[in-house]
Subunit: 218 residues, 2 copies
């Protein structure tokens, strides 16, 4: 359990439900490493914009990438962003509407985004992305070209301003409401990986690689 | 397939991959209705902040709620926000790193958030939230109190500036790469609902209600 004073900055400080907050590196890494899907918030023309993308972590930075033609990514260098990862683990059904909740693990990372400019560095980061998500796949692929590296923007954010929130367990009802004969409990939610579907244009007899079969998220 | 001119505003216009975009109400409703989890982007002190929450739709508005003590919600009235819903349907593994992608359905709603001020209106919206997510549950619960209504903030956003992006199907590789003996395909991802877990303090013999067993997301 985190104390309010553990927060690395004012905006990561939890105003309410402090017992749900964590700020240590292991907690931050655990959420980021469990779930590639994230939502990144930018400001465009003075208004917020939230886009889904996939993140990966290397050491004490989180990375994401996209097309160099993207208006979000072009606008993001050296600007404040917020990258949020959420795993929705369940519905929490209480005896009053007010105490319904969700079980979840989430991580918010705040800071100034930095575009990885050096082409060799950028290529190494893209390889690392594959190594994190699909170990061994990068070396099986047709090699990336200079033009493809140029057409890809890689961004990163240090993890020095990050917070984790986690809720688990049954509902917390008002004490007197436990006397009511109302069903309460948790409906678990989880992400499952289905059987990989071969591309119809695969060569005949190509086996599904382990990195496809074994991928998990959440 | 949408034409660029179908977009209701400049910021909903897709700059790239126009064939993935839709702007019609049925497409927007389909994504919002399939997935309560959303990420809302606000601006606090000139920087973006992205928070996970659950949304529901009534007609041509999307709603979300939270504690009246929340700094995000208090700050949001009459300010620009972006609410994004994403369903991550699969990994798309191509023959080159560059053409790897994700299958997904996402919806972004832009606009000025409005706090529902009238207590009777607010209570009706909270009941509607239950009717959307857990049909029949609201009337089984201990009734909401005036104090609980006061402690809850309900926000809404009109759906008149919304866009949907959808990607489905196998990878799209460079034509010459199909000659390579590299496994390509799609790894499907989906959310499953587990068996509801009784609150340990439930009265003995209370059956799990259908709205808990039948809940689905994604």
């Amino acid at each position: 359990m985190a104390r309010k004073s553990d927060a690395p900055s004012d905006r990561t400080r939890l105003r309410r439900l402090h017992e749900r907050g964590k700020f240590d590196a292991a907690s931050v890494h655990a959420v980021l490493d469990a779930m590639p899907l994230c939502h990144v918030g930018y400001q465009i023309d003075g208004a917020p914009i939230v886009t889904p993308t996939m993140q990966w972590r290397e050491g004490d930075h989180v990375y994401w990438h996209g097309s160099s033609a993207s208006r979000f990514l072009r606008a993001a260098n050296a600007t404040q962003v917020c990258l949020t990862v959420t795993m929705w683990d369940g519905l929490v059904m209480a005896r009053s509407g007010f105490h319904h909740s969700a079980n979840y693990r989430s991580c918010m990372v705040f800071g100034e985004a930095e575009i990885v400019q050096d082409p060799a560095d950028k290529t190494a980061r893209l390889k690392a992305m594959f190594d994190v998500w699909f170990p061994g796949r990068w070396n099986l692929l047709r090699a990336i070209t200079d033009q493809e590296v140029k057409a890809t923007t890689v961004l990163r954010l240090p993890l020095d301003e990050a917070s984790v929130k986690i809720r688990t367990g049954p509902p917390s009802d008002d004490e007197e409401d436990y006397a009511l004969p109302i069903w309460a409990g948790v409906v678990p939610l989880s992400i499952i990986t289905g059987q990989p579907v071969d591309d119809p244009r695969n060569h005949k007899g190509l086996p599904v690689p382990d990195h496809a079969t074994n991928f998990t998220a959440g």
